[in-house]
Amino acid sequence: MTSRYSAMSLIREGLSGQRGWTPAWRDAEPKRRYDAIVIGGGGHGLATAYYLARNHGIANVAVIERGWLGGGNTGRNTTIIRSNYFFPETAAFFEFSLKLYEGLSRDLNYNIMFSQRGMWTLAHDRHGVEILRRSANAMRLNGIDAELHGGDAVRAQIPGLNSSPRFPVLAGMNQPRAGSARHDAVAWGYARAASALGVDIIQNCEVTGFLIEGNHVRGVETNRGTIRSERVGMAVAGHSTEVARKAGIRLPISSYALQAFVSEPVKPCLDTVVLSPATGTYLSQSDKGELVIGAGLDLYLSYAQRGSLPWMERAAAGVVEMFPAFSRLRFLRQWAGIVDVVHDSTPIIDRTSLGGFYVSSGWGTGGFKAIPAGGWCLAHAMATGRPHDLATAFSLDRFRTGALIDEASASGIAH
């Protein structure tokens, strides 16, 4: 029986025909009642359950996932992790998440392959350079690593950049501690760790309604029966509106397709993450050798998880502009997630007007990097009834007061 992972475990199991490996997580039959229910078995939901158990001693938790865990946006993103945010509230939150990522493999005993190879944002005109400087300074003043380099230094650090570009590189801002991780591993790692702490993970279980009494949630109805709890949290990117509506809660969200693309795997040719605000395209190279490419949203509502052709063309044009040698590489695969976009591109982690019902939503195009902190804060809210200090600004009320944190406007980058 091997439940702890290590090089020794690989050797031992290798010698005995891989027979002793145990399930990474238990498939639980839903109990009648739990101390807390988390709707959504993606990275955020699983992290929430894990931190409920680990930070708050609440292990009698069910994670309810209507499909297969990690099958939503967690398994579809471009795997970038960074904390190069502008405003103090968002900077503090995403930096906390990055720090959690730095220790996560050890914490979970699961290699999530977090590779801190930097993330570069380029500037192509005077105004762009000014924006980068303002951003780099904001990051440093928030205690986050940021460097600003001139065009020559950028080209020296990123070989392959177009030498006769349409958008010359005047400067680049790098966050050295940013990078990428293996997205599936984050979901599986949290699932395994949560399950080991006693959390029940229930797949193929769809919430069809809520039990509500006295304006307080009492449980959920599912296609596998009724499950009761006085604490229900929701982390279902792409379906936040649908699920919240069943609880009578409205959210200021619109759901769009966000596409991602990979090339065929090639030998190492890009060892950092690069974003050009001119084309909105960013790319990195995975540990398997595939170029992982992202661009902007398809700008009409969609739950289809496929995205449309024009954005694939735009992403390709963006790649060729930055790295003209990659023009001859080939797109191998394309897919899309459903992202919940909020006007200010800043998340929502808050209780709602329904007692005991908490939501984590509005992650837009930036949910993957936030998984640890998002789970940490939602768990805190569910356990204590109050928002975590890092998430007080991510409230639903900000839409009424106008206290938005508009990161997109601050940096001009799609999140």
Binding site: Y5, S6, A7, S9, L10, G17, Q18, R19, W21, T22, P23, A24, R26, D27, W68, G75, R106, N111, I112, H124, R126, H127, R134, S135, A136, N137, A138, L141, N162, S163, F167, E264, P265, V266, P268, A278, Q285, D287, R306, L309, M312, E313, R314, A317, V319, V320, P324, A325, S327, R328, L329, F331, Q334, W335, R400, T401, D406, A408, S409, A410
Partner: protein
């Protein structure tokens, strides 16, 4: 006769055109019509590559794009392409290619040591280790070992184009079913536009390797006749070398057409590839099917091949996979392969059929003296670098045999190519007889025919295709069930050596391991083991993996499901998607009317919001600072000329024009007199300052709205949106005329004289034409609109003439201004002057959080009773916050140079770089005042005038004092010259 590995067959070979090529450094030869794969086979090359993880030797496995092993690097230098499949490369003279990911060669690869430790590195092993002490230690080696081919070292020299077509019927695939469907569709209506596309260079699909007559003719003769008839039909377009790779919403199909890839590099001219976007009323999917391999231990050895592939190599290409062949099958179709090889001179050592009674085909084999082993399946292929024998086991009982051979052909049945059907949204239905997924209900107007619909019998396929083309339903004959497939028990050691995904090195053992660890959905299986994620995207492995999982879990296949199909069907060049949107054609920059004249003056051109404009115009030897100082001084003491054509101009006309603009602007509009101009601020509905500019009233019902350069189109569109969607009862017309009028700005005390010098009928006397008024007339003999507005703070005229006259106007003004030392000035000089005046620049001094009250517009808003866009937003709690950032000026207090834009403001007693109170938004060295000036958004700025602050930027501290930003001529005395 057999000679080496070439036979006398080869229906698409042109033996009159021998070719020579280089493979892994060796000179070899082939013929026109060969693929690189068939030529390698004909030359007896057995090991064509190494697998991704274990670097095991691999041989050719398939003959088409489902090939998983023969991954090659084609050519070198800038035209190099990594990761092509040898089966997809048309051989040309002088071709250079080699295997990827094998060093020093495919024959001897040092990384094969991985195979020795295979048991310790099963699927997903990297999740279980490598994180102590840190992933960073191990990652570089993993990355170096990963990846297949090598990205080209230089920019792509090739050009790619996009084309469009609108057709009534698109037929994808030119096998028998596709050809029949195209002809029938074209005949339905004489003017029905029909397009037939084929990914291969040759039309015919499976006919090119078929062995049985079709409608009484040989397969090739039937194909030739069908293609000939199609070519003569004027409403039919045939495209070869065109692969359909995407089926999108609303009948859009994308094709990737190869135009020059089949030619030697030296002979390639014109675009390399063409991407077609085809809108179709109907699509007929004749995309064929992929043969399913049989999993057994050692099935990845060179010499193990799909049965139909061997048949293709023998019949179409005249190349033999080996000399002593064993065929393992569970269905009839594979017998054709054995017979074709026997006819070409191979020895068929045995046919192993899992069925107890192979019927007529068994009898035919017997008639050919081929040994039959019935009710049996392959157990293990023997050999190290090549098959040298096959162990066979009875399905019932445990009887075993061993057969000496050098080639094992396998066939477990056929998987219809349902990719495009699925991409279109169509459902899939599992067929128990065929043990594969068939196209189910379509959601778009698409129908599958032939093998793609599971109809493997050629005659039935043709009948069905014709019916489908005519829009009729044809009942397909019941599919002949395939025989059983031998299953692996859980934890069977042999499973660890039975490959499912050849390229990514995933075995049945890995599938079992995944299930053991609870990765039991088809998505989890794929992601955990990487099965189906290689460059063949699972065309030969997905179904096998699903079957293995189904067997293990005891769950029927329909419950396991299958992964989603997404474009592209097969990898497509990134450059092909970009098309002509590269280089200067990517978001092309617009030029101003005076572009040529300014270039001749040595202008330093820079991009500003989609326009190429002069930042400054240095004289030889001048630095940027020197040029700007000279330009500013010229304007402030003499006269300067600036091309302001890029600023937005929107005509707003109608009885309700004033009422409309009253709602658009923060400022009042209704009370503006005809002939007068006013500065206006526009918000979006969130209360954020969106744009500013001068608007002029041309008549009671006619306004000219000025916007910043980048916002002309968005604002005109925003106007249309408000008028059409919210206030349709307002009678207003809107037109963006920015590029209809060229605008030259003459600024400085001599401006009036310069303007008079080009000739105008407009009275320029100061009281006839005061500041902030608008006049029309002629200037330089051309119809003109002139405004007295000033961003520099000097006497200033903006002269607008129809765009085509802009260059002449520039020249005329420069000439007229020569006696006064007129100086062309650029954007950066203009920016210095407006900073000197403390004028706002939206986008620099504002960002997505700036409300009008932050810029001092509070009193103006208080005076205006009406609603306007954004008004309600600025009175929310956020807008009433007393510590909002406000735009103020900064005077440098440490004797240093200009502050950096983007430096952050900290309190005067700040010792550490922590926190922020705002940031510098504009900065300049003022040649007029001889000191640096800046503007900044600072918390409570207007209540902190004269207060000292510190600034921090990337480690550098500066000292400054908050000041009123109207640094120069606050009373506006310069304005009249």
């Amino acid at each position: 006769m057999v000679s080496g590995w070439r036979t006398t067959g080869g229906v698409t070979l042109d033996r009159t055109t021998p070719l020579s090529f280089t493979w892994a450094g060796r000179r070899l030869s082939g013929f026109a019509g060969d693929t690189l794969a068939s030529a390698l086979l004909a030359n007896g090359v057995s090991i064509v590559g190494r697998s991704f993880k274990y670097h095991r030797p691999r041989g050719l496995f398939a003959a088409g794009l489902e090939e998983a092993n023969a991954i090659v690097q084609l050519e070198q230098g800038g035209v190099s392409i990594p990761n092509l499949k040898a089966t997809q490369i048309e051989l040309y003279d002088g071709l250079i290619a080699g295997p990827v990911n094998a060093w020093p060669s495919a024959d001897f690869d040092v990384m094969a040591v991985n195979a020795l430790i295979k048991r310790f590195i099963p699927a997903a092993f990297y999740y279980k280790t490598f994180f102590w002490p840190s992933w960073r230690l191990f990652e570089p080696s993993i990355r170096k070992a990963a990846g297949l081919g090598i990205a080209p070292p230089r920019a792509d020299p090739d050009v790619y184009e996009h084309s469009y077509a609108h057709v009534d019927v698109l037929v994808i695939g030119s096998g028998a079913a596709g050809l029949a469907a195209a002809e029938a569709a074209a005949a339905v209506r004489g003017n029905a536009r029909v397009m037939l596309v084929e990914a291969d260079a040759e039309f015919g699909g499976g006919l090119l390797s078929a062995d049985e007559p079709v409608e009484g003719a040989s397969p090739l003769a039937w194909r030739d006749a069908a293609v000939g008839r199609l070519r003569r039909m004027s409403n039919v377009l045939l495209l070869n070398r065109a692969m359909a790779f995407g089926f999108y919403d609303h009948g859009l199909i994308t094709l990737s057409e190869r135009l020059t890839d089949h030619l030697p590099p030296g002979q390639r001219t014109g675009p390399r590839q063409r991407m077609w976007k085809v809108r179709c009323t109907r699509v007929i999917l004749a995309t064929g099917a992929f043969e399913r391999p049989v999993p057994f231990a050692g099935n990845d050895l060179p010499g193990v091949m799909l049965a139909s592939a061997a048949q293709t190599y023998a019949v179409r290409f005249g190349a033999l996979p080996g000399k002593r062949v064993v065929l393992c099958t569970n269905n009839d179709s594979a017998y054709g392969a054995a017979f074709a090889l026997q006819d070409a001179g191979c020895a068929i050592e045995a046919i192993v059929d899992t069925r107890d009674d192979p019927g007529a085909w068994g009898a035919a084999a017997h008639a050919r003296s081929i040994d039959m082993i019935k009710g049996a399946a392959p157990l293990r292929a023997l050999g190290h670098r090549r098959v040298k024998g096959l162990g066979v086991i009875a399905l019932a009982g445990r009887a075993r045999t061993r057969i000496a051979c050098d080639t094992v052909l396998t066939s477990d049945g056929w998987n219809p190519a349902v990719h495009l059907h699925s991409q279109s949204g169509g459902l899939l239905a599992y067929d128990e007889a065929l043990k594969s997924f068939l196209p189910g209900a379509s959601v778009q107007a698409a129908v599958s025919v032939g093998a793609a619909a599971g109809v493997l019998d050629l005659d039935a396929a043709i009948i069905g295709a014709r019916a489908a083309a005519r829009g009729e339903m044809a009942s397909a004959p019941a599919a002949i069930p395939v025989g059983p497939t031998r299953r692996f028990a859980d934890k069977d050691n042999a499973a660890a050596k039975a490959w499912v995904d050849f390229q990514n090195d995933v075995t049945v053992g890995d599938v079992q391991l995944a299930a053991r660890e609870n990765f039991r959905s088809v998505e989890h299986l794929k992601r955990y083991t990487t099965l189906g994620m290689a460059s063949d995207q699972g065309k030969t492995s997905n179904i096998a993996g699903i079957h293995a999982l189904s067997d293990l879990l005891g769950k029927p296949v329909p419950e396991i499901g299958t992964t989603k199909f997404r474009p592209p069907f097969d990898p497509v060049t990134i450059g092909a998607f970009a098309g002509r949107s590269v280089g200067a054609d990517l978001m092309p920059l617009a030029h101003t009317p005076s572009h040529v004249a300014q270039m001749a003056l040595g202008a330093k051109m820079e991009p500003y919001g989609g326009w190429l404009r002069s930042a400054y115009l240095p004289r030889p030897g001048e630095s940027e600072d020197q040029a700007i100082a000279r330009e500013v001084n010229a304007v402030r003491s003499g006269v300067g000329l600036f091309d302001a054509s890029t600023l937005g101009k929107i005509e707003v006309k109608g009885p309700d024009a004033a009422e409309f603009l009253q709602r658009m602007y923060v400022n009042g509009v209704r009370n503006l007199k005809v002939g007068k101009c006013r500065y206006g601020l526009m918000l979006n509905e969130h209360g954020i300052v969106y744009d500013d500019g001068v608007f002029a009233r041309l008549a009671d019902d006619h306004f000219l709205v000025g916007t910043t350069s980048g916002h002309a189109n968005p604002i005109s569109e925003s106007f249309l949106e408000w008028l059409q969607c919210e206030w349709p009862h307002l009678r207003v017309l809107v037109e963006n005329v920015t590029t209809g009028w060229a605008v030259m700005n003459v600024a400085g005390r001599h401006a009036r004289r310069v303007l008079a010098g080009v000739g105008t009928d407009i009275d320029l006397a100061p009281d006839a034409f005061p500041h902030m008024t608008f006049r029309t007339g002629t200037v330089g003999g051309v119809s003109a609109r002139v405004q007295r507005v000033s961003f520099t703070g000097e006497l200033s005229y903006e002269v607008a003439v129809p765009w085509g006259y802009g260059a002449d106007l520039w020249d005329g003004l420069m000439n007229s201004g020569r006696p006064y030392g007129i100086t062309a000035f650029g954007v950066e000089s203009l920016m210095v002057m407006r900073v000197e005046k403390g004028f706002l620049h939206v986008g620099s001094d504002t960002d997505g959080t700036t409300y009008p009250q932050d810029l001092g517009f509070g009193p103006a808003i208080a005076k205006k009773p009406d609603d306007f866009v954004g008004r309600r937003s600025i009175t929310r709690a956020e807008g009433l916050r007393e510590n909002r950032r406000e735009l103020v000026g900064l005077e440098v207090a440490d004797g240093g140079g200009p502050l950096e834009v983007g430096a952050h403001v900290l309190p005067a007693d700040a010792k550490e770089p922590k926190g922020t109170q705002g940031w510098v938004t504009s900065s300049a060295y003022s040649p007029t005042l001889n000191r640096p000036l800046a503007m900044a958004l600072v918390e409570r700025g207007t209540k902190r005038l004269k207060e000292r602050v510190r600034l921090w930027s990337l480690g550098t501290w500066r000292e400054a004092r908050i000041a009123d930003q109207r640094f120069f001529d606050p009373a506006g005395k310069q304005i009249n010259g």
